[in-house]
């Protein structure tokens, strides 16, 4: 059980990639990307957790309490912001793709075939 969060993360990373690859709709591609990203949340917060640890807020708990690691939580906060920004940018691109190509099936976007 102690490996479960990390196994889950590895699975989500790869299943998210599958979603990207199998997608025939760019919106699906992008939403699958968020699944890949959620793998990073799991690893970071999994690492930072301590058995019996309390949330790192020291207002109303005794001084000697055991706390979970606050550092990884800060990293995840940044990670969440990045998720939002990338998603917004990509969706703006997809809206434009529909306008220009008349389709958002990656197989029908043919401006860049070599």
């Amino acid at each position: 059980m102690s490996f479960a969060p990390y196994a889950a993360a590895a699975w989500l990373f790869v299943v998210g990639l599958y979603g990207v690859i199998a997608s025939s709709n760019l919106v699906r591609t992008v939403l699958s990307l968020t699944v890949v990203q959620s793998a990073t949340y799991l690893v970071l917060l999994g690492v930072g957790y301590r058995h019996g640890g309390k949330a790192p807020i020291v207002a109303d708990i005794p001084k000697s309490s055991r706390l979970v690691d606050p550092v990884t939580q800060v990293l995840v906060l940044t990670d969440v912001v990045i998720e939002a920004t990338v998603l917004a940018l990509l969706l703006a691109l997809i809206v434009q793709a529909q306008k220009r190509f008349g389709s958002i099936d990656p197989a029908r976007l043919r401006a860049l075939r070599d």
Binding site: M1, L77, A88, L91
Partner: protein, 253 residues
């Protein structure tokens, strides 16, 4: 490649990558047994030296405030990027008020129940947002969460079916200014550290009593700056996408 070829390649590569990840992650300390020296030190330092009680916020706005600066500008860059990418769809905005009656701009799908609910929601959202921004250093939350909650207030106006009212409460230029001022303010507070103390983003304000509102030095200021930026950023992004919907949806296409 054909779809089948792609999936066949992934059928080999995907499990391979999964195996690599699992082998690597296996070296992690068992779940719950991590004792990182950085985190332990921070737990001791921040409440003592900076009078913050939420250590995550303390890290966010003090020890690792520089990361947060970068993060704010990622957000800023992305909003600027969205504005750039959707720019040609904004042209009709000037004609908006002239050409159509208010009823035309009701957000489709807004039922009466939703409208009433939204109007009740607005003050609650604003109050919650302000609370979150100000108490970042004390309790969970901070500028970022507050910003989205604050942005949801005007969004509720839209759900209430009043697109034009939204544009009047939060016109484009005001949102852009909010976004820019928030981002600049954060960077400028950092410069305050450079000028009045010795290093960029160094605290140069009194620390106050732990647990009180105006404690923890520059953290509340940083939190407010982030709150302003995030409010502007999300409202801009939303309206950017919704402008496409409401304005372009009718005549340009």
């Amino acid at each position: 490649m054909t779809r089948r070829g792609r999936l066949a390649l992934f059928a080999v590569a995907g499990p391979g990558l999964l195996a690599v990840l699992v082998v690597g992650l296996h070296g992690l300390p068992s779940f719950g047994d991590f004792h990182g020296v950085y985190g332990l030190l921070v737990d001791r330092i921040e409440p003592g030296q900076r009078h913050a009680t939420d250590i995550v916020t303390a890290l966010n706005f003090d020890l690792r405030a520089f990361d947060t600066l970068g993060e704010e500008f990622i957000l800023f860059a992305s909003v600027t990027g969205v504005a750039l990418l959707l720019r040609h769809l904004r042209h009709a905005e000037g004609d908006l008020e002239r050409s159509r009656s208010v009823a035309d701009h009701r957000f489709a799908g807004a039922s009466d129940a939703l409208r009433v609910m939204s109007l009740v929601l607005i003050p609650l959202l604003v109050a919650l947002g302000v609370y979150l921004a100000l108490h970042g250093a004390l309790t969970p939350g901070g500028g970022f969460q507050a910003g989205i909650v604050l942005a949801a207030g005007p969004l509720a106006i839209l759900l209430a079916g009043r697109y034009l009212a939204l544009k009047r409460v939060a016109p484009q230029w005001a949102l852009e200014a909010l976004d820019a001022v928030g981002a600049t303010a954060y960077a400028a507070i950092g410069l305050g550290g450079l000028i009045f103390a010795s290093a960029y983003l160094e605290n140069f304000l009194p620390l106050g009593t732990p647990g009180e509102l105006l404690s923890a030095g520059m953290m509340p200021l940083n939190s407010i700056a982030v709150g302003l930026e995030v409010t502007g950023a999300f409202l801009l992004t939303w309206t950017e996408f919704l402008d496409q919907d409401v304005i372009v949806g009718r005549d340009e296409l």
